[in-house]
Amino acid sequence: MPEISQLLPLIPALPLAAAMLTAVLGPRLLRKQSHWPTVLALALSCTASLMLLCKVHREAGQEEYERSGYEKIVTLYTWANVDEAYESDLRLRSPEGTVVISQGRKPLENGRLRQQSPEGATVNSRRDDSNKDSLATAAPLGLYNSEVIPFQGFTSLANDCRPEGTKKQGATIKNFRIEIALRADPLTAVMLAVITFVSTLVAIYSIGYMHGDPGYWRFFSYISLFVFSMTMLVSASNFLLLYVFWEAVGLCSYLLIGFWCEKPAAAAAGMKAFLVNRIGDFGFALGIFLIWTTFGTLDFHDSTAMGVLGKMRLASPEPIVNGAVGTAICLLLLLGACGKSAQFPLHVWLPDAMEGPTPVSALIHAATMVTAGVYMLARCMPLFAASPFALHAVAVVGGLTALIGAVVAITQTDLKRILAYSTISHLGYMFLAMGAGTVLGVTAGMFHLVTHAFFKALLFLAAGSVMHAMGGVIDIRRFGGLRRIMPVTHWTFLIGGLAMVGMIPFAGFYSKDAILLAVAEKFSFGNHVDLVYQTLYWTTFGGIFLIAVYTFRPFLLTFYGKDTVIPPEAGHHAHESPLSMTGPLVILALGAAFLGLYLEKTGGLAEFLAGTPSVAYLNRYPLAPEPSHETLESLHSSIGRQSTVMVAAGILFTIFLYAGSRRRLADRLAGPMKRLGLYQLSFGKLFFDPLYRLFVVRPLELFAQACAWFDNRFIDGSVNLVGILPKLLGAALRPLQGGLIQFYALAMILGVLIFLGVLLL
């Protein structure tokens, strides 16, 4: 079995190779066979991920990692390293260094040095060489002594809010390394396995779904590029690298949302996703800057300096960073996570992103990319653990988003948009779990991330199958009774739906209950009553009912009904999808059905994830005393019972409203809702878009117009003026080049004479 250091780089490398191969060969050579590189690379990558998972699982189980957690760093390439130069500089100026210098060199007047003896010469040259080597490595980034001085200000600032034990590290704050370092730890291994597995299935599904599209090769090239970026994102061991690939997945998302860019809605949606994400990324970048100024490093792991989330730092029970700086970092990171994971108030881009091809929605906008925010929060949990306010903020954002998504999803008529809002809502649940700031919360959130990846990808792909059959129609009011012509899609959708609503024993049940447990644990024990978590708990508990409604409403409308209703656009497509599409559906359905049960009963995932250094830290230094196992278990089972009742009620209510001929009941119920304005509120997506347009976009547009006017009138004028100066100077000098040799000779001699004159006079 290959080593981790061999497997880990392979996982992103294969999709990258596939992306480049497809981009180069796709348009001319591969054409309709463009899916092969991608499918093969993803399948291999998936195999490698699963092997990595096994390997990490085996190694993390060893006793030595029990307390501090397991991590393995694979440094592929150090791009720039100022640290070495700085250290060699220190070495030179150390007392020992001066001894060497005084032996080898005798200082002469005005700074000249001369070698005195052959022995001295050898000592000197060897030392010089080693010094030069490190200088050479330092040179590309050009930070030398004087330039790093400004950081000392930050050092003192950082020292103030850091615990005593780490203050001595202030000396190494001048290091600046750009390292392409990948990490293998349980968190990364799980993410990699999920990403590559789902993306492999989605790639296979796309063979059928994208068949005949003019941009066939482009699609697969983008998908591979996305998988490369996403795997790099989760395996990066450095905030800078994380940010780079954070942007890279954003770029892939933009490209794929606007895949059919000739469609104005798709182009606009791509733009919107990109712009909204920019707000989050801006916060994320600021957070990274703040981390750099506070810690002096961006590495997660310990390298030459103590990493931000390295074992050395996490070994201390003290909070990593206290006070306002800590809270600011956490809130900025949260802003970044909100952008990528479509959380309130930056959730507005995700529903529009459904303009992209359905496999993209399934892969990027449901299963993988949007969970990057959750991953980042899990990774940075030790930072958040120090700031109760930030944890509250995460929990509130999550809870609020969960509710907003659920409320809006109830009345939508676009099948994919319903699923998009459900994604938003579920991501909200995950954020809520992260907001608990406990091991229970983090593992529950990750658990839900895994099961959600399966059932939401399944639902999207099933919706895509419906859409494929209906000739691109996605409005649930325009078709019905499809279970007769699309049995596989129907059954897999049902399994996905049951998993999503959290019906026992499907996957969602266990992960959702784990989240509820994690939140309940925050206020059920001990004497401190945390109202925030209590409110959130009951809100989201109520949300379960809504989930059931918004899941089964489209399901019933699509697949049930007395007659089979097919829109005219469907044409001859109205039949079950090909095997390449149904195959992945079935595999995902198996996962959605049994994965939760398996992971819950073996208890493996939570235990495994607890071996991540960031999570192990929470385990070692919990925020509050942990309740006993028995009390937790009883709470867990009571939550399970209550939520099952809730789900069952929701499903029955929906069936009562929509099944069979009683569909009018729903309309009758909608009447008073409309009168109250609640229906419009939900249908209008809580009017976020118009509000944003009115209060954010319009003022900005006006400001931009004013700026443009000023820019055109004044700035451009002056810039053009400056730009024309060199040209005028050139014109003035051109006559010098008249072509006569004698003149050239004269100019040379004059040059010599002028230099001589200046020197001699």
């Binding site: 080049q737 072509g739 006569l740 040799i741 004698q742 000779a745 004269l746």
Partner: protein, 148 residues
């Protein structure tokens, strides 16, 4: 000033004069062969000062350099002759100023303005008539200066 240094000074001054004359010749003459000869004169000036230094320093390195200079100058003379010959074959003239087609795009071409021969304004002194018949000298074409 010791006699050695005085001698050195004299040699150096002569060398500098040779170099300067060569320089002026290089810049003022338009005949390609004469230009090259002027450059050679500069090299002779250099050679002279090298030899002077060599004698002053009692070191033969300078004289060695002079021998190399002479050898290289001979090479260059061969190349120069070949070059001048081909250039002459193309233009039919030895004037270096003919060769200025390569220049900045918008610059006017160099126009050779004929310089009229100097004539004295004073009355010529009366001379005795010579015996015999004066030969008929053909008039000189003056579109260029034949004796540059």
């Amino acid at each position: 000033m010791s006699p050695e240094i005085a001698l050195l000074n004299n040699y150096l001054i002569v060398g500098a004069i040779l170099f300067g004359l060569g320089l002026i010749g290089f810049m003022s003459r338009r005949n390609m062969i004469v230009m090259f000869l002027a450059a050679e004169m500069m090299l002779q000036g250099v050679s002279l000062s090298l030899v002077a230094w060599s004698r002053f320093r009692n070191d033969f390195g300078g004289q060695m350099l002079v021998i190399f200079i002479i050898a290289v100058a001979a090479c260059e003379a061969a190349i120069a002759l070949g070059l001048v010959t081909t250039l002459f074959q193309r233009s039919g003239r030895l004037d270096i100023a003919d060769w200025h087609a390569l220049r900045e795009a918008n610059q006017p071409a160099f126009v050779d303005e004929p310089i009229s021969e100097e004539t004295s304004t004073e009355e010529p002194l009366p001379t005795l008539a010579r015996a015999g018949v004066a030969p008929q000298v053909p008039p000189v074409k003056t579109d260029y200066r034949p004796n540059v």
